[in-house]
Amino acid sequence: MSQASAIRRRSRTGDTRAALLFLLPFSVLALVFILYPVVQALYMGFFDWDLLTQRAQNFGLQNYVTMLGGHGFVWSATHMLTWRVPLLVVAAVVAVGALRGRGRPLRAGVVVLLLLGLVVALGFHPGPQGSWNDPRFWAALQHTIEFTVISTPLLLALGLAMALAVNRPGRAASWYRGAFFLPYVLPVSVVTLIWIYLYNPSRGLFASVTSAFGVEPIDYLNSSALAIPAVVLTTVWWTVGFNMVLFVAGLQDIEPSLYEAASLDGAGRVQSFLNITLPGLRRVMLLVLVTQVVASFQVFGQIYLMTRGGPGDSSLVLIQHIYQSGIRDSDLGYASAMSIVLLVLILAVSLVQLRFFKEDDA
């Protein structure tokens, strides 16, 4: 028996104890500060749990009823059309794709049915005599989803475009990378400080640029239609550099020989991009997409600091509603229940994304 294999055997039996030791600090902290809060929030969500008295009363589902319930519902075909029409289009695309024999027909059928169900469900809303138990929750949910749906494609597409532009050797390119990445290191309060004044109609640079084109200055942050898009623009400026760096790393992992082979076969730039670059970036794309969506659903700082959720509640998001219900209004049980709903939403969306990408691999 050789010495090396004896050592290996000894080390294998000794590894478990060593591993326990090495994993200890991380696992203890992760259990206490990542896993336990999730369990605790799930538990607290079933109680009327007041922050000041610190007492848990009335075990039950009342928090979820308050959050999700309402009365006096009616159904109309035109309610929330801006959401339902795109969903219908997606359902149609999936259906047509399945009929042409792409993907698994059974799964496509389920997806189409779920989408159609959602389109029908979105037609329900409280009628003239009815109301949601907590209209602010629905407003916050709607704005959170809107923020995510608007910002994610922008952050993905612009990040990729920037990566393609700056992924070249040389000093200049590294300067561009630095410039595009720099805003990412700024604290949220500094970012919002700058942008609140950039958007200011009488003192900001935006107003002076738009008035040069003869457009009256607009108070973006005090407009219920423009507040969220304005915050999205700020967010893109602040964080897109991070995605750019991820995409640059992904681009550099692609085998250069693939491009050579393609150009020998007479493939153009567009074809190379579609057939080599995009498939090669699949993993990074997935990473960016998942982290982006997890982060967007938890958006808080920049919106809270720039608009306080206003004007009215027109840019209220879920985390702000949780923060105000729990800390300001002392209703820890209700805030926990909303955290759990947010967690479920994020997990569901992440898993759908993972699933979708995996299926494409096969």
Binding site: Q3, A18, A19, F22, P25, F26, S27, I34, L35, P37, Q40, A41, M44, L51, Q54, N167, R168, P169, R171, A172, S174, Y176, R177, G178, A179, F181, L182, P183, V185, L186, P187, V188, V190, T192, L193, I194, I196, Y197, L198, R203, L205, A207, W237, V248, A249, G250, Q252, R283, V284, V290, F297, Q298, G301, L305, I322, G326, S336, S339, L343, I346
Partner: protein, 301 residues
């Protein structure tokens, strides 16, 4: 990254175009390339305009800014705002708070991630795969959103307005473990085998061989954790109820709302400069490590 870029399409075309036969295409490519550089240069400057504007306003006279702030030239250049804000009673205290919280968080994150990464990357033990998958699943837990139970935990222990309350929940970072695992997995076996024959245990191998090897990954992770922690907003906002325990990020945010702030734009932007200067310095010094760290995170999954 900037020192050893992988070959790209551009690099290859320029190499091919260097042959005299293709001089015409070469010229077209050079014009195209300089157009691209012009475009990127302008885009990069425009991208930085908000930051430049902050510096300009911070070094402008407050009263002159009342007349005109829509400019990229300092109005009556002065350092008075910056000096005034630095001698302000609260800013230095918040700066110190941020430094302590960020310092402990960064060191803790690096130590915990490196240790766990060594276990996942180099050791054989039961339930290794499931444990690693659970750790990866931790990436999907919205940590920001779970502040209510954490708040209850610290408030019922009477630990609000303390430093541990601010850094303890931020140390365990699944992404950090992932980065370090990726790194340790790639270390060749021979390096370790030699030490093992000499009778070194895991602790020795970890501290004497693995940690020195992992210096680039550790630097990257440390900078990443530093930026994240310095910029953390929601958790310190929740857990620090007294201004004495605000971090700089929270403190700056609290001051934005006040009315007199709106009248002294120069002072306000000076606070922004002071709050972001440490990060800009860190960024300029360690740009390469930071970029590499983020790239490591994008590695194989």
């Amino acid at each position: 990254m900037s020192t050893a870029p992988a070959p790209t399409i551009t690099e290859r075309t320029t190499r091919e175009d260097a042959t005299p036969r293709r001089s015409r295409t070469a010229r077209r490519f050079t014009i195209g390339a300089s157009m691209l550089h012009l475009f990127l240069g302008v885009a990069a400057i425009v991208w930085l305009v908000p930051v430049i504007w902050m510096f300009v306003l911070a070094t402008s006279d407050n009263d002159l800014l009342q007349l005109d702030s829509q400019t990229l030239l300092p109005q009556g250049f002065t350092l008075q705002n910056l000096i005034g804000e630095l001698s302000n009673s609260e800013l230095p205290r918040w700066f110190l708070n941020s430094l302590i919280v960020t310092g402990v968080t960064t060191i803790g994150t690096v130590v915990c991630s490196a240790m766990a990464g060594y276990a996942f990357g180099r050791l054989d033990f039961r339930f290794k795969e499931p444990l690693f998958i659970v750790t990866l699943a931790g990436l999907m837990v919205p940590r920001e959103a779970m502040f209510i139970p954490l708040y209850l935990m610290f408030s019922s222990a009477g630990q609000l307005n303390t430093y541990p309350a601010m850094f303890l929940p931020r140390i365990a970072l699944p992404l950090g473990v992932f980065i370090m695992t990726q790194f340790f997995r790639a270390v060749p076996r021979e390096l370790e085998e030699a030490a093992r024959i000499d009778g070194a245990g895991h602790r020795r191998i970890f501290t004497r061989i693995m940690l020195p090897l992992a210096r680039p990954a550790i630097a990257a992770l440390a900078i990443f954790a530093f930026v994240q922690s310095w910029n953390d907003y929601l958790w310190p906002l929740v857990v620090a109820t007294q201004p004495d325990y605000y971090t700089l990020t929270v403190g700056l945010a609290q001051q934005q709302a006040s009315f007199e702030a709106a009248r002294s734009l120069g002072d306000l932007m000076s606070r922004g400069v002071i709050g972001s200067l440490p990060l800009i310095v860190v960024f300029l010094l360690f740009q390469r490590q930071l970029v590499r760290g983020i790239s490591l995170a994008s590695g194989e999954k």
